[in-house]
Symmetry: C2
Subunit: 399 residues, 2 copies
Amino acid sequence: MRIENQNPIDWRFSERAAQLQSSFIREILKVTQRPEITSFAGGLPSPATFPVEVMRAAFDKVLSEQGKVSLQYGPTDGYPLLREWIANSLSTPDSKILPEQVLMTSGSQQALDLLGKVLIDEGSKVLVETPSYLGALQAFSVYRPNFVSVATDEHGLAPQSLPAIADGARLLYALPNFQNPTGRSLSLARRQELVETCARLGLPLIEDDPYGALNYRGEPAPKLLNMNPDGVIYMGSFSKVLTPGIRLGYVVAPLPLARRLELAKQATDLHTAQLTQMVVYEVVKDGFLSQHIPTIRKLYGDQCQVMLNSIEQYFPEGVQWTRPEGGMFIWVTLPEQIDAMKLLDRALENNIAFVPGAPFYANEPAKNTFRLSFVTVPPEKIRAGIEVLGRLIKEMMAA
Amino acid sequence: MRIENQNPIDWRFSERAAQLQSSFIREILKVTQRPEITSFAGGLPSPATFPVEVMRAAFDKVLSEQGKVSLQYGPTDGYPLLREWIANSLSTPDSKILPEQVLMTSGSQQALDLLGKVLIDEGSKVLVETPSYLGALQAFSVYRPNFVSVATDEHGLAPQSLPAIADGARLLYALPNFQNPTGRSLSLARRQELVETCARLGLPLIEDDPYGALNYRGEPAPKLLNMNPDGVIYMGSFSKVLTPGIRLGYVVAPLPLARRLELAKQATDLHTAQLTQMVVYEVVKDGFLSQHIPTIRKLYGDQCQVMLNSIEQYFPEGVQWTRPEGGMFIWVTLPEQIDAMKLLDRALENNIAFVPGAPFYANEPAKNTFRLSFVTVPPEKIRAGIEVLGRLIKEMMAA
């Protein structure tokens, strides 16, 4: 029965497939699975925060009461009650978000892919922060845009730099809250300036917001979405506030774009699992997140403070770092002559991992930067790991 | 706080977004949700076949015993034990399939999208059956190929027509088992000729096989994959043998392609839900499908026979139809002057729905064709509905 394969296939991949590279982070994560490693590299939430029993009970309830519906094909745009819940939770007295604007996605990574599919042609100008989220660069890259890096300063994205570079741009992609990788958040004044500038330029503004609810001080900042629902595309996710392994996110878009995204989603994977959406609705509908999120804030906030204190104590003069008030990451800038890749080699020899900053830049990388995550490592290991890192940095600076 | 939007966004979509159309089937399905409609239009499996209690128990077990792992991010290629189970279930003594060849996807629709992403450039020649699966045409269309229709006869795809048209083609997409929409299956001799021809031409051959296990007579036919694992890309799914709402499929590819598909998947949605994969592994690992699939075969096989008998009884001379031995669909060819869209209008007035054949053609549509599904309608309604359809066809033929 087996056929002799006379002409082995000479695979011809698409030009876009040539852009595909494995995420550097995912490669590092493979190395850092070893238990002796203290890993500040991960972008994974802490499993200590997963409400396993609540999820188990919700799966049980939905499958017991609505088994056949939950296991059947569902609508492309998502489970109506969950879309309505999301629209309500995002609405403010000033800006009403409609369920029709909400498209459920398989994690917010899929929203990035769909946005790329619908908005980016080969060579399209796409504006991104400096640095920006690696997964977004990866998702958009497939559609072969021309990335233009928007200047940032210590307060994050600098809106005043936009008019000079925005001409013909298809979109601006930003993470205004506790940005990945820098941990920076935009001030209220800067948010207003950013949204006003984009509105004036007619430039679609993507607000990627996986960490917005994870603020460790004060109240969450207002969303860009609510400042201009006609011009802002909002991306949210249940990964950081509930659990990531269920792959559930959403994108909220002005109606003409929402409809295109829905069509793209239909061609891409028909719809996101109906069962998962019904279960998450069951979990969130009576306010579970408002009790649950404070427990995540407490855990991450304490660990963030431990890491900041340790950095203050152990990192030498000449090193700079961000002081995030939420999210998962601290961003470190070494003296210019020090290459964070080389520091990583030495750190791994000492069983410590982090992510070098270079892959987060769409254009010229700052090789003297790196990202630290504080969410999955307990306080005593944070202190010990940062102490070692501090020593290694001092040694490299002395050399 | 709300910003005045002086310049409403003039949305500029990508050129590929212009290709996006809603599936005609999904549009019809919206019409046919009404309870008074007898719908032969759906491609949905019958919820009567969903093993709800087995799924409920498996979710409960996985979440009770491995809650934190199942709810965390997982590997892009999928849950290792399920990939191994799939590789083993597809292996034969002659052809061993490796777990590394298996990529888990969010339904097999996503495998189509990933294959398009990795293999199709704008203008690439892509060979498809005449007619072919609408969802595949839709998924590939996004990447703007040049579709070339491969001739078919009453036995399905005609391999002898390939050498004249295959030059430079990126792939041939085929459903050899109980094809959607025609219900046709390739004979053993034709399978061998097809696989040999593609191997000789160095032409990658995609075997899409959602219905292969749903054979109502005899043994399942050998898979093209096992005839030439180095040249055949195989797509499978749990949608038709377990449940579709969980969105779980897989693609099995020669290693160089499998690696590219994994990278494309990473950029697209990181990975498919870890929990779902662990639950499905829990369900299938001890042989559940070998008891469960025969119950689906019995239900669908009986309804298929009722529909074939009713067509025999009620459809007038001059109408032709396929006699599938498995799957979900019967394909009807009317006399050439009769437009199935017009028949649909009259059928809907009589509360009966089906899917006209035209959207299943990549190039010139045969407007006198339509597809009937027999899986979700009980026998007495099949008989009554087919009787009405027969009457309407007779009236149109007489006019």
